[in-house]
Symmetry: C2
Amino acid sequence: MSLDGAAGTFLREQVGPAGPWRPQPAHALMPSRLTAQDLAPLAAIVGESHVQVDDAARLAATGGASYLDWARHRAGDRSDAPDAVIRPGSAEEVVAILAAAQDRRIRVVPIGGGTSVVGGLREDRPHVALVLDRLGVLLTVDEVSHLAVVGPAATGPRLEPLLAARGLTLGHIPQSWARASIGGYVATRSAGQASTGYGRIDDMVEALTVATPMGLLRLGRGPSSAAGPDLRSLFIGSEGALGVITDVTLRVRPLPTQRRYEAVVFPSFAAGVAAFRSIAQGRVTADVMRLSDEAETRTTLALSGPRGAASAALGRYLRARGVDVTQASLAILGWEGTDGAYVVDRRRATWRLLKDHGAVALGRRAGESWRRGRLDGPYLRDALMDAGYLVETLETAIDWRSYLDLHENVTRAIEDSLVSAYVMSHLSHVYETGASLYTTIIAVADQADPVAQWRLAKNAAMEVIVDSGATVTHHHGVGRDHASWLVNEWGALGLKVLASAKQVVDPHGVLSPGVLLPEDRP
Amino acid sequence: MSLDGAAGTFLREQVGPAGPWRPQPAHALMPSRLTAQDLAPLAAIVGESHVQVDDAARLAATGGASYLDWARHRAGDRSDAPDAVIRPGSAEEVVAILAAAQDRRIRVVPIGGGTSVVGGLREDRPHVALVLDRLGVLLTVDEVSHLAVVGPAATGPRLEPLLAARGLTLGHIPQSWARASIGGYVATRSAGQASTGYGRIDDMVEALTVATPMGLLRLGRGPSSAAGPDLRSLFIGSEGALGVITDVTLRVRPLPTQRRYEAVVFPSFAAGVAAFRSIAQGRVTADVMRLSDEAETRTTLALSGPRGAASAALGRYLRARGVDVTQASLAILGWEGTDGAYVVDRRRATWRLLKDHGAVALGRRAGESWRRGRLDGPYLRDALMDAGYLVETLETAIDWRSYLDLHENVTRAIEDSLVSAYVMSHLSHVYETGASLYTTIIAVADQADPVAQWRLAKNAAMEVIVDSGATVTHHHGVGRDHASWLVNEWGALGLKVLASAKQVVDPHGVLSPGVLLPEDRP
């Protein structure tokens, strides 16, 4: 996406002019810090050809897609490249690799799509990257139970066509869909754009196999259990620090034959939030529910909305229905299914509640347009950085009662911590008791010290989030960037419980050290 | 309920005649094995009046509602009575009690309603019962977020009227509703009779506070989180072995204003299972979905169905619609909500699928009749034991593909392990990927050694369950009776993880030892 034309004008007006931010040539990789004695036992397990130490392989296995990662890479810094890349061919080989790595105290960072936005893959000490692309995509399908056993080589684009051939879909569509792996979804408790209808990834996991230095765990029997604590939940979201997910049994759904996406405008974000709450609590949710605040709505209209006379006509259309376009809050609603009549029923029930909150229909074209463009965000981010802008997102979730206060306080904290920031948010997952809040920040980048600038804004936002009782992260995970706040989520005793679990499966701490659980580093 | 008339005749015909099983007078309680030195520090925390050692208090705090518990008690055996009863007045007092108990290595068994059917409260070594009825019922309500903070003194009958006064309901209705505590629901991962629509209790928990000998844990922020593993799931289902739940933040729902329950008959259990599967996978579920197999259907018709001419008329009505009454499978479906039109829509969508599987409507009267009688089971059990019958239930869950095989194999294994057993089952919770199976067993009791007779049947059923990949328990928990099978659910490494969590919060193992995690007892 280019920043010429409307987008460039909008940015200069709203954020201010910025100088281009030119990527520096990548520094030469430092030679692999692993010795022949380190690598020989690994090669004995997977075969020589599946242990790579050349620059190309190491760079290809360097992950991370956070603003901090991109800023580092833009400066030419590749110190987070692994010292070797290992590609095991089976779950048993993964266990053997982990045990061998433990013997020699070699750090192991499992990597899927490399799309962590929270520093989950950022490691500059000697380590191997465990790449799982030989372990299969779709291993088995149970078409009666609607269960698919999926391997760690699966990504959305690889998996969905195989499922579609059987009339099924996973329906998990995060913005990282093009690259993220299914194992990564599970390891980070991912939520996709249709998660209101399809559920978070944690809702889809019936069973999983986890390889650890101490052996394999096979967790999950049947659709649900009361056999004590749910140990699956300790490994879902474990971000590579408690093991390597070698397969996942996922609930899949019939591929929808009916689909209706439409756009709606509310007179204010508060009205939209009230409508979404009533829909969630009335249990008449659409499968996709997304509500932009006033700032995000203005951006959307400026960048992709109608122009000129059409824009004026939209303003008149809304005004006639009691909506001031400058205060408007844009929503996308999508219903999917195989029973056309029931899709219609569900939409009608949703609309009964939408109308109570002053919703004005914008029709299917705008809805479909959002659906087609919904994976473009990451590409836009690169263009914004090229143009000299800091662009970062953060997300959380909170109960309905505190939702608007949190939105206001997070927005203000970020605006106060940055010079001339443009802050815009949306709500993209509703629960009966609350909803997610996803905030995008654009500011003129401090190219001299982007990390310090980022940290200031991040700390300001996190302080508000933690103080308000919201979750540290709703769907991006902990990584390194949130590790210091994990104690706010689970408490010191909770972290001890988590650390004790790690101690059992990874007693020497070779698995993604510093990720998830904070580490005392000298 | 009396076993005269139709019920008695049915039992004698189907199971065989049995002699009455007379309860023996309760043995005298052994004197409390706790010393004044044991009790003084506890009394210093909660006050003298909240430490009771008299027989009446100890007997009232003796729990357990399994067949084994009832058979023991029927023999006069009260060796599982606690040595003292402690009633703390706050969460902080609970922590202090647990720490003091740890200091003196006194076993602590938290007790809610005392309705464990898996030996979760059966302890014959010296111990104190921790009774939580001073800790409040409904602590706070957030009517915007639909969240209620509930104390451990809450039971269904205490909580629901308080919620109803605000137009809300929890909607969790297990058969133990009259007595079970909400903390007990959470500690055992309970599922109620409307769990298809309202969710299992684990689906309702947004946050919980857990007191342990090492301090308080406060787990859960916001409606959902990706902040690493979900530690709530380690304490939901922890059955008193990892801590004492001192409050729970639960999602509540609007009290339904519309309610429609109806009965349906399928030509066979297999047809009903296929229908229920298509409904679950079509995501058009009713809130209550219950399907009896042929044996349970015959029992229901014999005990509470129409008699004489009316019964013959029912046979003709079904036959005219292609259903042989002797092969019939009875289902109950219930829809609830606040939007009448949407309740109608949902019912219509369900019926489109029901018809594909040969369902015949029996109307609302039979549905309402089930709803009114749905909590009677436990009372019937006492009457059956009085009449000399073993009566036991077991439950599991499995994927749809294996459902009918499991049903057949469990039924046969139990029939083969007992002389002339009557075995009947139902399905009462559907998931997209599978369903629960709940089996009731009636046989002539071996009054001389009911434990040995029970163990034979239990082992036979559990072997089938474990071998088929089904869960050890879908909604009754582990207790002592399932503890030896927990390794089949989570594996040896999984149990080590669980034991390490216990080690952190209860390093001296004073909390419900032997419950959940098997114990090496000398």
